[in-house]
C-alpha cells in the first residue's frame, strides 16, 4: 500500500463515517420512541391544518412495523422520514395559504 499525504486524513474521514454508522447500528427502542413521537406530533399538526400526506401515514406504519420486529435502525429511519414528510406537508399548507391566489382564474 503506497502511503500518500492526505491518506491519513481520508482514513480519518472513513473512521468518522464508520463511527457514525456504528452509532446508527446501535439504535435503541428509546431512540425509536423519541423519533416516532416527534414524527407523530408533526403529523398531528399537519392534521390540524387538514393537510396530511398518505406517505407520512405509510412511513409511520413502516416505523411501527420495524420496531415490532425489533429492527430499531429501520424504525428510527422510517420515523425520521415520516417527520420530514409531515413537516413538508405543514410547509405546504402554510405557504399555500397565499400561494393559491396565483393560479386563480380571474
Amino acid at each position: 500500500m503506497i502511503r500518500k499525504p492526505g491518506m491519513l486524513k481520508s482514513l480519518g474521514v472513513v473512521a468518522l463515517i464508520a463511527g457514525t454508522t456504528a452509532a446508527f447500528a446501535a439504535s435503541s427502542e428509546a431512540d425509536f420512541k423519541a423519533a416516532y413521537a416527534a414524527a407523530e406530533a408533526a403529523n398531528q399538526e399537519a392534521g390540524k391544518l387538514r393537510n396530511q400526506w398518505t406517505t407520512t401515514t405509510a412511513a409511520l406504519a413502516a416505523a411501527k412495523k420495524a420496531a415490532a420486529a425489533g429492527d430499531f435502525d429501520q424504525a428510527v429511519a422510517s420515523s425520521n422520514a415520516a417527520e420530514a414528510l409531515a413537516k413538508a406537508s405543514i410547509f405546504q399548507a402554510t405557504s399555500e395559504k397565499e400561494a393559491w391566489k396565483a393560479i386563480e382564474i380571474r
Binding site: A81, W100, I103, E104
Partner: protein, 286 residues
C-alpha cells in the same frame, strides 16, 4: 432504502414548494361570485372555442372526438342503467315508519337536483344532496348510508336523472357566511395539497384535454353536472364524495371525511360556477 427515497422526495417537495411559492401581492377582496363565475366560463370557452357551452358537462368526452363518438354509442346502453333502476325503486320504498324520501324534499324530490347544494341559513352551512338524503334517513329512524357508493349513488343517480337537462341553479344568499363558504370552496379548489403537490386546478384548469397517464382530463367547468358516475376505473358507481376523497388520495393527500366542511364548500363553489349548464347525470366515465 425506501425511507431514504421518501426523505429525499420530501426535501425535493420542500424545494419545489419554495420555488413555486409566489409572494402574492393580491389584496384580500370581497368575494364576488358573479364575477368569478363569469371569468370561469370565459376561461374555458376561450380555451376550447369549438366546444359548445352545454357540452362541457361531458368532461373528457368534450375534449376528445374519438372518445366522444364511443361514448355516444355507449349512451344507448349506459353502464349506470342498473344503478339508476335500483335508485328509482329505493326512492319509492317507504321507511320503516311509513314515510318516504319524497316527504323530505320539495316537489317530492323530483326535478330538484339542480338546486343542490344550497346554503342553509339556519344552520349556517352548505347542504349537499348526499347530506340531505342521509339527514332524511336519520330523521325517519333509518341508518345513514355510506356516502361514496352503492345506495347513495343509486339514489342520487335517480334524482339527477329526474333533473336531466335542467340548468344548475345554485343560489348564494346575501349572507356573509354563504359568501365565506363560496370563498372557502374556491380556496380549496386552487390550493395545492398532497405529496404530489397538485391542486384541483392543476389538472382541471391548467390541463383539461391533456393526459394524465392514460386518462384525458376533464375541464372544471361542468365537472359535477354528470354526477354520480359509473366509472370504468371503479367498475361501479361513485358519488361526488367518492370522487373528492379518491382524488385526494391519488395525489397522496389523506382524504377528509366525506361531507367535511371543505368538501361541502368545494361542491358549492364548483356547482355555482357551472350555473346555467345542464344536469347530465347520472354519467359514465372511463
Amino acid at each position: 432504502m425506501r425511507s431514504t427515497i421518501q426523505f429525499a422526495s420530501a426535501v425535493l417537495a420542500l424545494a419545489a414548494l419554495a420555488f413555486n411559492a409566489m409572494p402574492a401581492a393580491v389584496a384580500t377582496e370581497t368575494p364576488d361570485p358573479v364575477a368569478d363565475a363569469r371569468a370561469f366560463k370565459k376561461y374555458f370557452t376561450e380555451k376550447f372555442p369549438k366546444v359548445k357551452l352545454e357540452d362541457f358537462v361531458n368532461g373528457p368526452y368534450s375534449m376528445n372526438e374519438d372518445m366522444h363518438r364511443q361514448w355516444e354509442e355507449k349512451e344507448q346502453f349506459p353502464p349506470y342503467d342498473f344503478s339508476l333502476e335500483a335508485g328509482k325503486e329505493m326512492f319509492a320504498k317507504p321507511f320503516k315508519n311509513g314515510k318516504t324520501y319524497a316527504d323530505c324534499f320539495a316537489n317530492q324530490g323530483i326535478g330538484i337536483r339542480q338546486n343542490y347544494p344550497y346554503f342553509d341559513e339556519k344552520e349556517g352551512k352548505v347542504v349537499t344532496l348526499e347530506l340531505a338524503l342521509n339527514r332524511c334517513r336519520e330523521a325517519n329512524g333509518e341508518a345513514p348510508l355510506s356516502y361514496v357508493k352503492d345506495e347513495m349513488a343509486a339514489l342520487t343517480a335517480y334524482m339527477a336523472f329526474t333533473s336531466r337537462g335542467k340548468p344548475f341553479d345554485i343560489k348564494i344568499p346575501n349572507d356573509p357566511r354563504a359568501l365565506e363558504a363560496f370563498q372557502n370552496g374556491k380556496r380549496y379548489f386552487y390550493t395545492r395539497r398532497g405529496q404530489l403537490n397538485f391542486s384541483c386546478a392543476s389538472c382541471h384548469v391548467q390541463n383539461p384535454g391533456e393526459r394524465i397517464r392514460a386518462e384525458i382530463l376533464a375541464p372544471a367547468l361542468g365537472i359535477l353536472n354528470a354526477m354520480p358516475i359509473y366509472r370504468s376505473e371503479w367498475g361501479g358507481m361513485g358519488t361526488i364524495s367518492r370522487r373528492f376523497t379518491t382524488c385526494n388520495s391519488q395525489i397522496r393527500g389523506v382524504p377528509l371525511e366525506p361531507q367535511a366542511d371543505e368538501y361541502r364548500d368545494l361542491e358549492y363553489y364548483l356547482s355555482y360556477v357551472s350555473n346555467g349548464l345542464p344536469i347530465s347525470g347520472p354519467g359514465a366515465r372511463p
